[in-house]
């Protein structure tokens, strides 16, 4: 029972942590690469072009 509990807990924590990290990662990529607010666009302009994001 204890082993089972620990295993289930570890599995749950891996998936949950991975999910959090993926959501956070895509959030950051979206802000840095896609959001068109003009201050953000101007600041990230060169990186967006050089990194292959659709820019204008």
């Amino acid at each position: 029972m204890t082993t089972k509990t620990l295993k289930a807990s570890a599995a749950g924590s891996t998936y949950l942590s991975a999910l959090f990290a993926v959501v956070l990662g895509f959030g950051i990529i979206t802000v840095a690469g896609h959001v068109q607010a003009s201050a953000l666009h101007d600041a990230a302009h060169d990186v967006r072009h050089a990194t292959g994001f659709p820019c204008h």
């Binding site: 029972m1 749950g12 998936y15 950051i28 990529i29 050089a50 659709p54």
Partner: protein, 250 residues
């Protein structure tokens, strides 16, 4: 039965915290380091081409205007605009940290399934990331030099996002599928966005010479591949070392 269910679903258990902080720490280190190197490579290899293109975008130089135009105009030297370059460094580090978070999260799942994750296998992860985030969308929406004609931004962003998602799934299937069906599905996922077609401009109006546009796309891919190999390898390395650190302190 109840303790099992509680442990499995409780979001803020100590195990979750440890696992999440291991992912976060590894990704921050890997992303910041690779992003910094990516920015320096970009400033040396891509920025001069971009600045050259901007001379045509602004109309300062005119292609096919009748007169002779030198292919080697006076360009501001590297690091000539400190604020602009500093912002590039910041956003490059931010972008690669975003990539690293996704990468390390998937590495943690792969390791759970018994696959080895370290600095060496991280190189393959990095190459898969490059294909997913740069090469697959760039095959039809080539890295754009400033001033090119392009379709409406929203449509391109949707196509870009869908293509990255399809390529990401394809890379996972190629790496871990292990049967013919998964390879066939991966091939379909990789080709489909390009067969459907990326949003294209109605007419060509780009003022930038094709030589500059081609060089820009090639340099963007080259620097992207180098930076992705680094972020993959760093992510594998820090994932391992953070794991050792966690098991020592636990």
């Amino acid at each position: 039965m109840t303790p099992l269910m509680m442990c499995a679903t409780q979001p803020a258990s100590p195990a979750t915290k440890t696992m999440f902080s291991r992912i976060l720490t590894s990704a921050l280190f890997a992303g910041a380091a690779a992003g910094l190197i990516a920015a320096l490579l970009q400033l040396v290899f891509v920025q001069p081409v971009l600045l050259h293109a901007e001379l045509y975008e602004s109309g300062e130089l005119v292609h096919f205007g009748g007169g002779y135009v030198s292919a080697h105009p006076e360009l501001p030297g590297p690091f000539a605009e400190p604020m602009r370059d500093a912002l590039s460094v910041v956003f490059s580090m931010l972008t690669y940290t975003g990539y690293a978070l996704v990468l390390v999260a998937l590495m943690s799942l792969a390791e759970r399934q018994g696959h080895e994750v370290n600095a060496r296998t991280g190189i393959l992860w990095g190459l898969a990331g490059f294909v997913t985030f740069h090469f697959a969308p760039g095959l039809s929406l080539a890295p754009e030099v400033p001033g090119v004609a392009a379709a409406e931004i929203g449509a391109r962003q949707i196509w870009w996002t869908a293509t990255v998602a399809a390529a990401g799934i394809a890379m996972w299937l190629i790496a871990f599928g292990g049967n013919v069906a998964s390879y066939v599905i991966a091939a379909i996922l990789l080709m489909a966005p390009h067969l459907i077609g990326a949003p294209e401009p109605d007419s060509f109006a780009g003022p930038v010479p094709t030589e500059i546009g081609a060089l820009f796309a090639a340099r963007a891919f080259g620097v992207g591949m180098a930076a992705w190999v680094l972020v993959g390898s760093f992510a594998g390395y820090f994932w391992q070392s953070e794991g050792k650190h966690a098991s020592v302190t636990a």
